[in-house]
Structure formats: C-alpha cells, structure tokens
C-alpha cells in the first residue's frame, strides 16, 4: 500500500527522470567512450580507461582542421542568417507590402522541404552556375537553410512587441537609430539570440546539404561520417563531449546570471 502511495506521489518526478535519462544516455555513452582505449580501429567496445585521446585531441589527421572549418562556417552562417533573418522578420511583422503573404509562406519552404532534395537541387544550381564547390558554396547553403529558423524565432518575438514602445522612445527624444539601439534591439534580443543559437547548431552539424555541396572540402560532420567507414578515432568522442560540456556551461551560466538578476530586483 505504501509503495502505491509513494508511486502516486512521485510519478511525475519519476517520469521526468526517465525521460531525462532517455535524452542524456547517448551523451553519457559518448563521454564514457572518450576515455576508452580501443583495440583496433573501432571504438564500439569498452576496453580500458585511458586519457590518451583527451591529452591529444588533434592526434588524428585532418580532425582538427575539419573542426575549425566547421566552426568558421557555423560562425559566418550564424552571422549572415541572423542579420538577414532579423531584417526579414521585422519587415514581415511591421510592414504591409505586396506579396507579404507569399513571402511569409515561402520563407518556411526550406524548413519543410526534405534536406536531400534541397541538397541535390542546390548542387545542380551551383554546377550550372559554374561555381567552385567549397567553403563559399557551403556557407551560402547554410545561410539559406538557417534563415527560416531565424525568421521564425525573431518573428515570434517581434510580434509580441508593443509598437507603442518605439513611439514612446521617439517621443522621449530618441532618433530612429537611438530608438533601434536602445529599445527595439534590446527587447527583440532574446528572439534574435534564440535564432542565432539555432542557426549555429544547425550549421555546425549539418551533413546532408554540406556533403552534396562541399566538393573536396571536409567539414567536421563529414569527417566523422567518413572515418566511421574506416574506424572511429576516440578523438571524435572527445570533441563530442567537449561540445556537450561547452553547451551545458553556456546554459548554466545563463541561468546563474538571470537568477542573480532576479534576486537583485527582489
């Protein structure tokens, strides 16, 4: 009886913990196997504890080169998509223009279209234009598919903004630029930041579109995929774990900062 009562009281917590475990288990595996010292080329079986891979993350040929390329592309794609996407979002919410409805739906097409189809048609387009496949074609493709996500995130935020706030700023001696910098941007910032994070994550781990349009260039996801055919170096797990830790640290510090702000206000 007491067990049933205990279950009833803690069912929600239990379900939550199980779901969380389900989400985190792959990360745990990646982390654990980053300390493995595999026999042979495949890192699929636990052998013995080792920090070799951690002390020499760039020990595998081309790994760090591809990682740095992916980070560069992700950074530029985030910048490009965020700037363009924010402008589009403001235009769509704030202004009435011809074909606004059409633009509104078309902007979501890249989100809805199967990635393989988009990848193949992009390749066709680049080849017909005689473009040299590589860094720039990857970047153009990434900005393109990140754009819709940024627009969605920023649009939601801009729609909930009271246009009266900008009127109030103009009424209080702020010119157009001051109004944008002091009022519009700070209020839209959470949406823009969400869009930018999304863009970075999408760009960093995109494989399908990149693989079609990269030519001889190799990004980190392509490197992982390629090496998985021949054997997976432990360093891949090290990079994966490091990325996970960085992401967790960013989230945690965000929580600490906002928590401290709340306490100051109260």
């Amino acid at each position: 009886m007491t067990l049933v009562r205990w279950l009833k009281r803690h069912l929600v917590v239990l379900a939550g913990l199980l779901t969380l475990g389900y989400l985190l288990l792959p990360n745990v595996v990646v982390t654990v196997f980053s300390f493995n010292n595999p026999k042979g080329r495949f890192n699929y079986e636990w052998q013995q504890f080792s920090t070799d891979a951690w002390t020499d993350p760039c020990g595998v040929a081309d790994l760090c080169g591809s990682l740095s390329l992916s980070l560069q592309i992700a950074a530029w794609a985030t910048l490009g998509a965020t700037v363009l996407g924010t402008l589009i979002a403001f235009a769509l919410v704030r202004y009435r223009f011809r074909a606004r409805g059409a633009v509104n739906s078309l902007i979501f097409l890249p989100m809805a279209m199967p990635e393989v189809v988009m990848a193949a048609s992009l390749l066709t387009l680049f080849l017909n234009m005689g473009a040299q496949l590589g860094f720039w074609t990857i970047l153009i493709a990434h900005i393109m598919f990140c754009l819709s996500f940024v627009v969605t995130a920023v649009k939601a935020r801009v729609m909930s903004m009271d246009p009266k706030l900008e009127e109030a700023a103009r009424d209080l001696y702020a010119g157009p630029i001051q109004t944008f910098v002091r009022v519009t941007l700070p209020i839209a910032a959470p949406g823009i930041a969400a869009g930018a994070l999304l863009a970075f994550a999408l760009s960093f781990d995109d494989f399908i579109i990149t693989n079609f349009n990269a030519g001889a260039t190799v990004t980190f996801p392509m490197f992982v995929w390629g090496s998985a055919q021949r054997g997976t170096p432990v360093q891949i797990n090290v990079i994966g774990t490091a990325m996970f830790i960085v992401a967790v640290l960013i989230v945690l510090s965000g929580m600490v900062i906002s928590g401290r702000r709340k306490r100051q206000r109260a």
Binding site: L165, D171, A174, R182, Q264
Partner: protein, 385 residues
C-alpha cells in the same frame, strides 16, 4: 515663478487627418493656452487620439499646422518636439528599470548627471522606493505614475495624456485624477488630456472640447458645457438630458413660450442655440436634477411661473444620496428625474401620478433638426472605448 507667457500655447490651424476615404479629423482650429488643463472628450473613434498624436508628431496631419508658442512644429519629428506623451498602455520600457525609464529622455538629450533629477521626479510621484524595480513588478497605478514621471522630467512645454487612467479601476482612477490635477498645478505645464470619460474630463480639466465624428462639437468650461449645451450630442454625452420636442408659440423679448403636448413651457431666449420662428420646432432640454417632483394631489401648491409637465412614475431606483425616477409623460416617454433624498414622499412610487416642475431659467433650447439621441451612451461603447 511661472510667468504668464504664451510659449506653451498649442495652436492647431486647419489641422485634419484622412486615411484613404475615411476622415478621422475634419479641419480643426484649436488654441490651448499655456498652463491650462485641457480635455479632449469624445467616444472612441471620434478623432481625439488622432488629434493628440498629431500634436505629438506621431501622426502626420493631412492638412493644417501645429504650433507650440511661436514655433511651427508641423514638420518636426516627435523626438525634436518639446512635447511628451503619457500613453494609454503606459509603454514603459520592459527591459529598463524604473530609474532608467524615467532617465530615458534626459539621457537621449545627452544630459550626464541625471541622478538628482530622476530621484526628485520619483519623489514627486511617490515612487522613490521602487527605482530599481522593473515595470512589470509594479501595480497598474504605480506604472501609470512612472509613465507620468518619465514624461514630466523632460519639462515639456506640453504634456499629452492619452486615456491615461483607462486601465485603472474606479477607485484608483479617482485617486489618480486628483493626483494628476495636483501635479499639473505644481509644475504649471500645459496638459492636454484625451478621454472618453465625461466625469474624468469635467473633474480635471479647465476647458473641455467635446469631439464627435472628427469635429469639435463644443468647447468651454465643464460647467458651461453642462449648463448650456449647444447640440444634442453634448447634451446627451455630458451627463443626462431630457429632450422634449416643442413648437414655438410666442416670442416676447427674452422669453420664448413653447407648446409641448397640451401645456406651455417657458425658455429664456439667451439659452436657445437654435433659430426660432413662430410655429417652428425646437428641442427643449432640462437636466434631471433641476426638476422637482410633486404628487398630483398636491399640484395646487406648486408656485406660479414654473415650467410644468404631468406624468406617471414608471420606475424608481434608490441610489442613496438621491432617488432616480423614470417618468412616463405624454411629451416624453422616458423622462428622468433625480431627486435628493431630503424629504421622501412615500406616495412617489411607480404608478403614481405626478407633476414635474422646474425653474424656466434652467431650460435650454436646441435645434430640432438634430438627432435627438446623438451622444446617448450605449453599454457596448463604454467597454470598447
């Protein structure tokens, strides 16, 4: 220390605003003198807010000009006009705390040391303790005061208030009315206040302009508008009026005698805004609180020289300080009478025959070609305004 000058006068000359084929404001001339508390009163959609926004520079007039003192500001953007607005929704910046909200205008004008001024202003609106809170942590009344402080700190020549009390509950609204009036007296700045609440306009403003369908119907002091309405809209929108259709019988000097139903009513010629020709129609108006109610049995005791009408009590509601009667009369189906509860006559109950009588000096006359129900407030209108 305030000298009487005209640098804070607001002059609108032939100002109008059209959106496509819809005219929000018909060409309008208006002068608001320096230091006055001026109210633009009207139902929603009458053009009062558009007028206010044209003064602020947030709306571009289709024609006409806006001047502040000697300066024509028609073509100045809002951030270059010495005018500040208190918005209906307050429009406080959610990402800034109260102190920074109030300091915003000073900082934008490049003033470095704002601390003392902001603190003084927050004291004026009694929010010194809340300086480091964010707007959403304050109550509606406190947010409203922040909005006032944020505008006033810039020492504008004119403060524009767009339905500033609309979102507050009744008790708080009363309190804020007095508060705003106190602040206005203290700082001596011209206030232009837009409202749909006639009581609010009358309580606070020195001068009220009643607007209807993009035009100013009548302008004057609250008492003047109430006692001498020129149109049926003003008569009905400001308080309640009983309007009777009557025919001009005789005109002699400053008195007009009218036929209504079977009886005769006297109207001072000076209080009739309509042209009168013998046999012509006029609307006779009388406010419900000016009327005395006497039971038909005592009709003999009513002094001579008073206007009188007979009727039957249809309904009565006891309000406390007064009792409101609805009288069914041959000249007017729903005649309203407010009687002070000084000596209550127990016979005055629904169904009783009564005589209504009043001093003819309180009668006013209006043009009978107007809609007799213009400006009568309907229930839906109040809520949506």
């Amino acid at each position: 220390m305030m000298t009487k000058d005209t640098s804070g006068d607001v002059r609108l000359s032939g100002i109008s605003k059209t959106y496509g084929s819809f005219t929000a404001v018909h060409p309008l001339d208006l002068t608001v003198p320096q230091g006055s508390f001026f109210a633009l009163l009207g139902a929603s959609g009458c053009g009062k807010t558009t007028t206010l926004r044209m003064i602020a520079g947030l709306e571009e007039p289709t024609s006409g000009s806006v001047s502040l003192g000697d300066q024509d500001v028609t073509n100045l953007p809002p951030y270059k006009r010495p005018v500040n607005t208190v918005f209906q929704s307050y429009a406080l910046f959610p990402h800034l705390d109260i102190f920074e909200n109030v300091a915003f205008g000073l900082r934008r004008r490049g003033i470095k040391s704002v601390k003392k001024q902001v603190e003084e202003m927050l004291e004026l609106v009694q929010l010194g303790e809340q300086a480091r809170k964010k707007p959403h942590q304050l109550s509606g009344g406190q947010q409203q005061r922040v909005a006032v402080a944020r505008a006033l700190i810039n020492h504008p020549k004119v403060l524009l208030l767009d339905e500033p009390l609309g979102a507050l509950d009744l008790k708080l609204r009363r309190q804020m009315q007095l508060e705003l009036k106190r602040i206005q007296t203290e700082v001596g700045i011209t206030f232009i206040h837009v409202t749909h609440d006639q009581e609010e306009a009358m309580t606070m403003a020195d001068t009220v302009a009643v607007m209807n369908a993009g035009r100013v119907e009548q302008l004057g002091s609250p008492a003047d508008l109430y006692e001498n309405p020129n149109t049926t809209f003003v008569a009905n929108f400001l308080g309640t009026s009983n309007l009777i259709e009557a025919e001009v019988d005789t005109k002699s000097g400053d008195e007009i005698v009218l036929k209504a139903g079977g009886g005769k009513l006297s109207l001072p010629a000076a209080r009739c805004s309509a042209p009168t020709t013998t046999g012509g129609k006029v609307l006779v108006g009388i406010r419900p609180e000016k009327i005395s109610l006497t039971h038909a049995d005592d009709a003999g005791g009513i002094p001579e020289g008073r206007n009188r009408i007979t009727g039957k009590i249809a309904d009565s509601s006891f309000i406390g300080v007064s009792t409101q009667y609805v009288i069914d009369s041959p000249v007017c189906p729903e005649f309203e009478v407010y009687a002070q509860n000084i000596d209550r006559d127990a016979r005055l109950i629904p169904g009783a025959d009564v005589v209504l009588h009043w001093n003819p000096a309180h009668t006013f006359g209006l043009d009978a070609t107007q809609d007799i129900d213009a400006g009568v407030e309907t229930v839906g209108e109040e809520a949506s305004a």
